[in-house]
């Protein structure tokens, strides 16, 4: 898979200052994720899942080792280059949706495209397309405060997908959702993965999500404990 690798991690270690010493959140992680994967990083709270996702998403840099995302070394990127990478190549889906409260559904999804300087007609086409994927084309004018949790997360998925990124990072996307919504959300992302070939990388400890994953990497105390390929078993 290396010639199709979207993400390559080699000896990634991350330490944070903690009191008088350092806390090691990630230890010597070496992983590769290819195009079209639907994989998850699983582990208990504090195992380093979110930290790993933040490094892959260029929101943070490793203390040691290299992280290469979409052929760019994260440590070598300037702030502007990292912003460009996130804007064009990576979509984020957060546990708490992180929608912009003063904007409508349409404007929230459109926001990612505004940064790319796409003309109005093209933007409208893409936004409506993304909202169609998640089944919210009829709620374009609604404000996030009027949406349910599941609907909010679907808007977040549309926002992440509207720019057709190569990689989507979903950090505990079902944590604030009920069972039905959780299934619905993950199925939606699975469909997008299949139809658009977007690589999805989850951070989760939710069984409802794990059952859909093609590959599961288990983290324990910041290190890779094991990998599983549920579909193969």
């Amino acid at each position: 898979m290396k010639n199709n690798a979207i993400v390559t991690l080699e000896g990634v270690t991350k330490r944070f200052p903690a009191g008088k010493g350092l806390f090691t959140a990630l230890r010597d992680i070496s992983l590769t994720f290819g195009k079209g994967e639907f994989s998850g990083i699983v582990g208990p709270s504090g195992s380093g899942k979110t930290t790993l996702l933040n490094i892959i998403g260029s929101l943070d840099t490793p203390t040691e080792g290299t992280a290469t995302v979409l052929e760019k070394r994260i440590s070598d990127l300037s702030q502007k280059q990292a912003a460009l990478l996130r804007n064009e190549g990576i979509g984020f889906i957060f546990q708490t949706y992180n929608l912009l409260p003063v904007y409508s559904v349409y404007e929230n999804v459109e926001f990612a495209l505004l940064l790319q300087k796409i003309n109005t007609t093209e933007r409208k086409k893409r936004v409506m397309e993304a909202l169609e994927w998640v089944g919210l084309a009829d709620r374009v004018h609604a404000r996030p405060s009027t949406l349910s949790g599941g609907e909010c997360q679907r808007v977040a998925i549309a926002r992440a997908m509207v720019k057709k990124p190569a990689l989507v990072l979903a950090d505990e996307p079902s944590a604030n959702l009920d069972s039905d919504n959780s299934h619905h959300i993950v199925k939606t992302m699975k469909t997008l993965n299949r139809e658009l070939g977007t690589t999805f990388l989850f951070s989760t400890h939710d069984e409802k999500v794990m059952q859909y994953l093609d590959r599961i990497i288990y983290l324990k105390d910041g290190a890779v404990d094991r990998e599983e390929y549920p579909k193969d078993s």
């Binding site: 929101l59 702030q79 912003a83 804007n87 064009e88 984020f92 957060f94 992180n98």
Partner: protein, 391 residues
């Protein structure tokens, strides 16, 4: 307090500061303009050629500062482009009291100044008798207890140092905003003053109309003046400018305090905004905005307070300031004691330059205080911001 209420409070306070700054400066500009216009009309005309020894700030020079004019200037006087004045110190005795005055001789037929010198001939000769006709200002009339038709003795020293005295009859009282042609001044016909002081054909200074003043200024006074000193209009207006500048300084302190209060409110609001919207900031960064751009967004948001304040200020300020300009600001009586031209009312003058300068001042200061708290975003860790924690 909710965001909306806080915003409108900030905007209201800033709009008050905006309008007050324009009002204060407009009032001073209006006073300045009015004072200059009145002073030119009543006292200085557009320039002055004065005897070399004349010092308007030293009354002791009056006895020596008189002389004959160069011939070329006489022609200008005859043509009405200049008006000569002769000064001498004197004492007046209205109702038995003693007042030190300056006797000023001016041509009754002159039209260069607004002084109604024509009133000197207003009383018929049989009423006037041998008394010297004189006109005085309303302030002088009030302080001396004089009215039209009243007589008083005036005593002076002539050119040889000999004292003399005559009856003076008040033939007219004029109202002026310029106290320096009124308080303790008595105006009599020029020829009469020259005759009684033995200074025939002599003057203390000559006031020039605009055309002659420009000509004299260009030639630095050489053509007409000879040894006489030319004082241009800017120099003549220096005292007024100095007082207005002093007043402006005080007004600016008050305006600056008011502006600072308004800007402090915006600053606090920005600090709170950055603090409360950390997750939003983290989301912007995650979506691909650079930190610099996020700082710009927050700075612009804060600066919108200024735009709203200017709009709101215009909404209520224009009618209010327009009404004040129409009705004028009444001045208390004591203001004319300062010795400067202050009318009964000041009409504020709001120039486009003043308004634009104030708009720019409010805008730029708001931009700065909006930017300062937003700078913190550039040091923010997006991972912490996404969690809602500010580093």
């Amino acid at each position: 307090m909710g965001n909306g209420k806080r915003t409108w409070l900030n905007v209201s306070v800033l709009s008050i500061a905006f309008v007050v700054i324009i009002f204060f400066n407009g009032m001073l500009d209006g006073w300045n303009k009015q004072a200059k216009t009145d002073t030119i009309a009543w006292e200085t005309a557009y320039g002055r050629l004065s005897h070399p020894l004349y010092d308007p700030y030293d009354p002791y020079t009056l006895s020596e500062s008189h002389g004959v004019l160069p011939g070329a200037l006489q022609e200008e006087i005859s043509a009405g482009h200049a008006s000569p004045v002769l000064l001498t110190q004197a004492s007046a005795y209205p109702g038995g009291r003693l007042i030190n005055i300056v006797l000023k001789g001016i041509d009754p037929a002159q039209t260069l100044l607004e002084i109604p010198s024509g009133l000197m001939d207003s009383l018929p000769p049989d009423v006037r008798g041998d008394a010297i006709p004189a006109i005085i200002g309303a302030r002088m009339a009030r302080s001396a207890g004089l009215d039209t038709g009243d007589r008083m003795i005036v005593r002076w020293r002539d050119v040889n140092g000999v004292f003399d005295a005559r009856d003076v009859i008040i033939t007219g009282i004029f109202h002026t905003n310029v106290p320096t042609v009124d308080v303790n001044q008595v105006w009599i016909p020029l020829e009469t003053l020259q005759e009684i002081t033995g200074m025939q054909g002599e003057y203390t200074y000559v006031l020039l109309d605009r055309e002659l003043a420009e000509k004299t200024g260009q030639s630095h006074g050489a053509t007409y003046a000879g040894a006489w000193h030319y004082t241009d209009l800017d120099t003549l207006m220096k005292d007024i400018e100095a007082v207005v500048d002093a007043k402006k300084g005080g007004m600016m302190v008050i305006s600056a305090l008011l502006l600072c209060i308004a800007l402090l409110a915006i600053f606090d609001t920005q600090v709170l905004s950055v603090f409360r919207r950390q997750k939003e900031i983290g989301t912007y960064i995650a979506l691909g905005m650079t930190r610099g751009r996020v700082v710009t967004v927050f700075t612009i948001e804060g600066t919108i307070h200024a735009l709203l304040a200017i709009l709101l200020g215009s909404l209520w300020g224009i009618p209010l300031l327009g009404w004040i300009q129409k009705t004028g600001i009444p001045m208390p009586d004591m203001t004319d004691q300062a010795g400067l031209a202050v009318g009964d009312k000041i009409i504020p003058a709001y120039s486009m330059a003043l308004i634009m300068a104030t708009v720019v001042l409010v805008f730029i200061t708001s931009l700065i205080v909006s930017y300062l708290p937003a700078r913190k975003i550039s040091k923010m860790q997006p991972t912490e911001a996404l969690k809602g924690k500010l580093v």
